[in-house]
């Protein structure tokens, strides 16, 4: 795994240790200290306080403040409460959670345990992406170790606290990463999102209050309790605490997963961390937060990579997957590839997403293969805009937003494909950006 001197290694600090996934390595390097502290020295309120102070925001994509989310869980509940870890990691360009699970599964388990302490839950699940089969072995071994050492199970560390944790795999649907569809799937049903409100914090798994977070979010919790919320917050920028695992891919010389402080400048990320554009080509565009986020161009290169700044630049930090594209990339083809992904992954529940992604992918396909008419550019915009904000779940927005940004920022490339002209980029190097 490539490393960079710009990295600030908090979540990844044990990654290079031998046997980093074993509980012995973990225990030898601060492992389960935060949990023990939470269990024995802290109250749920003081833990929440610390979390809020840390400015930790959800790493799954939406960036919701984690402390606040856990605070929504009612204290009293007639139904059991649950902790669910979203390890469905399916956003194109994103492959950070798998490293956290592969290299340091106990850190994740510890984060989940702390959530259990905070909300008074005794049962957790890690919902693992279907294609991540190999991770199951690693996770299940780690769970076994934790049970054997008394960090999971009954009467943990003699405190009377019980917690059971199990893995569960998806069956390969992107939509099952959406929190409510994930809960449906976890209950053994079809992966269709639920009507909200009520939100999972109030009515979640099997109708019980549920804390649901991303792998990276849970994994950040032990360090916060160990070192303090204040310490974590100051690693980043205001309202954007800590570090983030950025997944740098596309046309850079050194693609990889890098743990960088929140607010790290985009240009520096591409040029210094990623070692600049592949083959010395010119930079053209960057998708800053996974395939669902609008594309940015050179004028946004000075954006600090935190939730608020990227939003101000007109896109989203999302899952932290930074996809870089150089001058030979055909943006129509990128838009097409993305739309094919969303058409394939739309769960089909609601009309605008189901029909919109299908129609758009067909039209973009025709566009790219030279069969487009002038009015098709407007049609693409029209369809995407009519999906936006009107679908049942955010997948529809995730499909629509990027397309709108592609047409807006690269209209001339769309025009270059009109009236039977062959793709002007086809002769050049194939974009290695997204593949299915």
């Amino acid at each position: 795994m490539p490393v960079s001197e710009h990295e600030v290694r908090v979540l990844t600090k044990r990654f290079d240790l031998p046997n980093s996934a074993s509980i012995d390595t973990y225990l030898a390097h601060d492992g389960y200290q935060a949990f023990e502290k939470a269990l024995k020295q802290m109250t749920p309120e003081s833990i929440l306080e610390e979390l809020k102070r840390s400015n930790l925001r959800g790493r799954g994509g939406a960036g919701f403040p984690t402390g606040m989310k856990w605070g929504f869980v009612p204290k009293e509940s007639p139904k059991p409460k649950y902790i669910v870890c979203n390890a469905d990691e399916s956003e194109p360009g994103t492959c950070k959670d798998r490293l956290l699970m592969e290299k340091d599964p106990h850190q994740l388990i510890e984060g989940i345990l702390i959530a259990g302490v905070v909300v008074g839950s005794h049962q957790g699940y890690i919902y693992v992406r279907g294609e991540y089969r190999y991770l199951l072995e690693i996770l299940d071994r780690a769970l076994e170790e934790a049970y054997a050492r008394g960090y999971l199970g009954k009467n943990i560390l003699g405190t009377g606290f019980d917690f059971e944790l199990a893995t569960h795999t998806g069956a390969g649907a992107y939509e099952c990463g959406e929190e409510s569809a994930l809960l449906e799937s976890l209950e053994g049903k079809r992966g269709i999102p639920r009507i909200r409100p009520p939100f999972p914090a109030v009515v979640g798994l099997y109708g019980g209050p549920t804390v649901l977070n991303n792998v990276e979010t849970f994994s950040a919790v032990p360090a916060i309790l160990r070192e303090g919320g204040e310490w974590y917050a100051q690693l980043g920028t205001p309202r954007n605490g800590g570090t983030r695992l950025f997944v740098l891919s596309g046309h850079v010389n050194r693609p990889g997963v890098y743990e960088l402080p929140m607010g790290f400048p985009l240009r520096k990320m591409i040029e210094e961390v990623g070692g600049g554009i592949l083959g010395g080509k010119k930079f053209k565009a960057v998708i800053p937060g996974g395939s669902s986020t609008p594309v940015l161009t050179a004028d946004a290169l000075d954006t600090p990579m935190d939730f608020d700044s990227v939003a101000k630049a007109g896109s989203m930090l999302g899952s932290g997957a930074v996809i870089v594209m150089h001058e030979d990339t055909c943006m129509v083809k990128v838009a097409l590839r993305l739309m094919q992904f969303y058409a394939h992954e739309s769960c089909g529940w609601c009309i605008p997403c189901r029909e919109g992604t299908d129609w758009l992918s067909k039209t973009l396909h025709r566009f790219h293969s030279g069969g487009a008419r002038e009015e098709d550019i407007g049609l693409i915009e029209h369809l995407a805009k009519n999906m936006l904000g009107r679908t049942f779940c955010p997948l529809g927005d995730a499909a629509a937003m990027p397309v709108i940004s592609f047409v807006k920022k690269f209209r001339e490339e769309f025009e270059m494909h009109l009236s039977g002209r062959p793709c002007p980029f086809e002769s050049k190097q194939e974009p290695a950006t997204v593949s299915r």
């Binding site: 649907a173 939509e175 079809r190 269709i192 009507i195 058409a343 394939h344 992954e345 739309s346 769960c347 089909g348 529940w349 609601c350 009309i351 605008p352 189901r354 029909e355 919109g356 992604t357 299908d358 129609w359 067909k362 039209t363 025709r366 049609l379 029209h382 369809l383 009519n386 904000g389 009107r390 679908t391 049942f392």
Partner: protein, 775 residues
């Protein structure tokens, strides 16, 4: 129960609505249009079609009116450019892959998608891509599915799962490949009710009976009452060129709303079955041969007159009586399917013209015992009754607790079962079941008291606190349940906590057990109400109209001189004073050669017996639709019109009076009413009235319980009759001569009619479920 209200503003109109109401309902109640495909009152929310998007102040984007409950001060806009545009684009999306084969689609003309596009859609289509296509599938004899037309509103899935409690449909695949799928991969095994077809807003689910037969605008619509079971659902028959092409409940009116089972929806086809009798038959030697109406009527009238004359002579000549073999004279067996007017006239004909009380029908529920027990009950405790003690079918939906004793409503009373499920699902009703089998409604039940066959009365005694009965119930039941004292006590204690229970019972409870049931019910708090379940469309009416050997219309005992005098005065004829023979007794007497004549109207009392054994044993006249066992033994067979071919009224098992309207006519047949009149006339007797309207008028004068406001009934609604509340205790106790038993029809059988319905014979489930119980 009017809860707290809130004020909201929609398009500059102030509305005051109950807190918690869904915005879409609030708008619609005020006449503000909000289009929807997936929203369907009474079914779970989906938020899938996005047709109902509206602007709500302070919300960052358009909101689905079908999922948002109103809150105080909510400001809503349903008519802005943004909203209009959202609707238009949703339809544009839908039409993209839609086949637009409207010219050949069954739904054309009554399609919600067509209507919606007409109202809210764009006139131009920008879709220039290839449309997704998959082949049409046949899922069962009655259900076809054309996936490309499906707009995925999930109504079918929900009505089957939530409404029917069957859950035969589901969703498979994803994205644009998402499809509705049947429970057995490529076909359905279900109740074949067609509810999914009926609820489908487009032509995706179509009916095997109706598809490609007609356009909706070339048919006439006749709303009438289904003739197959005692629940009496309203069904609209669509007719073209005197042929019934479709059954449904188009306007969702009537006691059943949108509900119909397979029989109400499809089993009208017996009407045109090739075996239908279309000409009178007369016995010549061993053969039944076709004849004219004149000859048939003349023969019957002559023979009957001759018998009458002989009997009168015998009655006047006491000497002769000793020498001649004793004969029972005339026997009359009536129908569970004929109208009230016909039943009334048939027993009047029997009692006055034929001078006999040997009048009966196949009794499938002990209404007589129920009415008597309730009359006695209300006489004892007059203060108790605030409401009629007989519940109407819709009352079930609003009940807080329901006790079901016996029967299997899912198979035998589909509407009652639907109402019970609605009560449990929508209103949280608690269902208590006492049963010897594990019936499907157990899924909805709150408490179950399993028992051995025939132990229902013990269960009632247990509920009344009789310890020996409790003992008799303990142990393992044939259904494999272990009955413990705890279970029994828990059942009783829970039930006793309930108030205003509706008790629904089958033929497991008859005779004295009915009084026991009422005694048990009167120990519960509040007012207990009852529904006795009888099999057919006018089983209740046959009983009410006095097609009984011991009771005159309105359950007045024939043995009661005052009751007799009342009828004799009006009918201007004496009535025999002794209780007559039951169906079984009449059949037995016939075999012994003890009946001079037997007149069977719309019934088949010889079902399952060899007609040969009865030939020549009596002068047998049968009036029916088909040549069944009884007709095969007849001397004269008169082809009758079915319920779909005549007007009149019927009374369902809950005592709801409804109107039959003639949908078609079958050449060669006559209505039972017409036949009675011709027979009487040919005998030189008078039998009034001869028109159904006049007959109903006379019924209303003679049976006070039927003297109810008719406006609603005439308009196609239902009105409850025979409210024993205020009944004076009847002179004699209910006397049960003759058996009361259900024919145990299933969802896919319906006595004689069911034997001649092609649709019912086609569905494979008919053979899986021979018993009206779970397979």
């Amino acid at each position: 129960m009017m809860g707290e209200t809130v004020k909201i503003r929609v398009d500059d109109r102030e509305l005051e609505v109950q807190r918690g109401t869904l915005l879409i309902e609030a708008c619609r109640a005020a006449g503000i249009e909000v289009p929807s495909f997936c929203y369907y009152p009474g079914l779970s929310l989906q938020a899938a079609c996005r047709m109902c998007l509206v602007e709500i102040e302070k919300a960052p984007k358009l909101q689905t009116a079908c999922t948002v409950p109103v809150t105080e001060g909510m400001i809503v806009r349903s008519n802005t450019e943004q909203v209009t545009q959202a609707r238009r684009s949703m339809l544009e999306f839908l039409l993209g892959n839609h086949p637009l084969d409207c010219p050949v689609c069954d739904k054309g003309g009554e399609c919600e998608l067509q209507d919606m596009v007409f109202r809210y859609g764009a006139s131009e289509s920008r879709y220039g891509e290839a449309k997704r296509h998959v082949e049409e599938q046949q899922w069962s004899p009655v259900v076809y599915f054309d996936a490309p037309r499906c707009i995925l509103c999930y109504r079918c899935v929900r009505v089957c799962d939530e409404g029917m409690g069957v859950g035969a449909l589901s969703v498979v695949n994803r994205g644009v490949h998402t499809e509705i799928a049947p429970n057995h991969g490529d076909h359905l095994e279900c109740e074949e009710c067609g509810m999914c077809i009926d609820i489908c807003p487009v032509g995706a689910l179509t009916s095997g009976a109706y598809r490609y037969k007609a356009r909706p605008w070339e048919m006439q619509y006749t709303s009438t009452i289904c003739t197959h079971c005692g629940d009496g659902c309203k069904t609209t028959l669509s007719v073209r060129n005197n042929k019934i092409l479709r059954g449904n409940n188009r306007d969702r009116s009537g006691i059943n709303g949108e509900f119909l089972c397979i029989k109400g929806r499809y089993a009208y086809d017996f009407v045109e079955h090739p075996s239908r009798l279309r000409q009178p038959l007369i016995r010549r030697g061993r053969e039944l041969v076709e004849t004219t109406w004149e000859e048939a009527i003349g023969t019957v009238a002559a023979k009957w007159s001759e018998i009458l004359a002989r009997r009168n002579k015998a009655a006047n000549n006491t000497l002769a009586e000793t020498s001649e073999k004793r004969s029972e004279g005339f026997g009359v067996i009536g129908s569970n399917h004929t109208t009230n007017e016909e039943n009334y006239l048939l027993q009047k004909f029997a009692r006055t013209v034929l001078q006999t009380n040997h009048v009966d029908h196949h009794r499938t529920a002990d209404y007589a015992a129920l009415i008597h027990a309730l009359a006695n009950e209300s006489a004892e405790q007059p203060s108790q009754a605030q409401r009629p003690p007989l519940a109407r079918s819709k009352d079930i939906v609003g009940a807080s607790a329901i006790l079901l004793v016996g029967n299997n409503p899912t198979e035998q009373h589909p509407l009652i079962a639907w109402n019970i499920r609605e009560a449990c699902r929508l209103n949280g009703a608690r269902l208590y079941i006492i049963h010897s089998r594990r019936i499907p409604l157990l899924r909805q039940s709150h408490r179950f008291l399993p028992l051995g066959l025939g132990h229902e009365a013990d269960a009632l005694r247990h509920l009344c606190g009789e310890p020996e009965a409790t003992q008799a119930l303990l142990g393992e039941t044939p259904s494999g349940d272990n009955v413990t004292a705890d279970l029994l006590n828990d059942f009783r204690n829970r039930l006793q906590e309930e108030k205003d229970v509706i008790v629904v019972f089958g033929d497991e409870i008859t005779g004295p057990d009915v009084s026991l049931l009422i005694r048990m019910g009167s120990r519960l708090s509040g007012q207990t109400r009852y529904i006795a379940l009888g099999d057919y469309s006018n089983s209740r009416g046959a009983s009410d109209m006095g097609l009984l050997p011991h009771l005159l219309p309105g359950y007045r005992p024939v043995g009661d001189a005052a009751a007799r005098a009342f009828f004799e005065d009006r009918w201007k004829s004496p009535i025999p004073a002794t209780v007559g023979l039951s169906v079984d007794d009449m059949v037995a007497a016939t075999l012994q050669g003890g009946m001079d004549a037997l007149y069977v109207v719309g019934a088949n009392p010889l079902k399952g017996r060899n007609p040969e054994d009865f030939c020549g044993k009596t002068f047998l006249v049968v009036q029916d639709l088909f040549l069944q066992e009884t007709a095969q033994a007849a001397d004269v067979v008169l082809p009758a019109a079915s319920a779909y071919e005549k007007s009149g009224t019927v009374t369902n098992t809950c005592g709801e009076l409804q109107r039959l309207r003639k949908a078609v006519g079958v050449l060669g047949t006559r209505t039972d009413l017409q036949i009675f009149a011709s027979l009487a006339a040919a005998m030189g007797a008078t039998l009034h009235p001869s028109q159904p309207e006049e007959a109903l008028e006379e019924i209303r004068q003679m049976v006070p319980e039927y003297n109810i406001p008719l406006a609603n009934v005439l308009a196609g609604g239902a009105e409850a009759v025979l409210n024993p509340n205020g009944f004076k205790p009847l002179a004699a106790p209910a006397e049960t001569s003759g058996r009361v038993y259900s024919a145990q029809d299933t969802l896919f059988t319906s006595g004689t009619l069911g034997r001649f319905s092609n649709i019912l014979n086609l569905v494979p489930e008919r053979n899986i479920r021979k018993e009206p119980g779970p397979a």
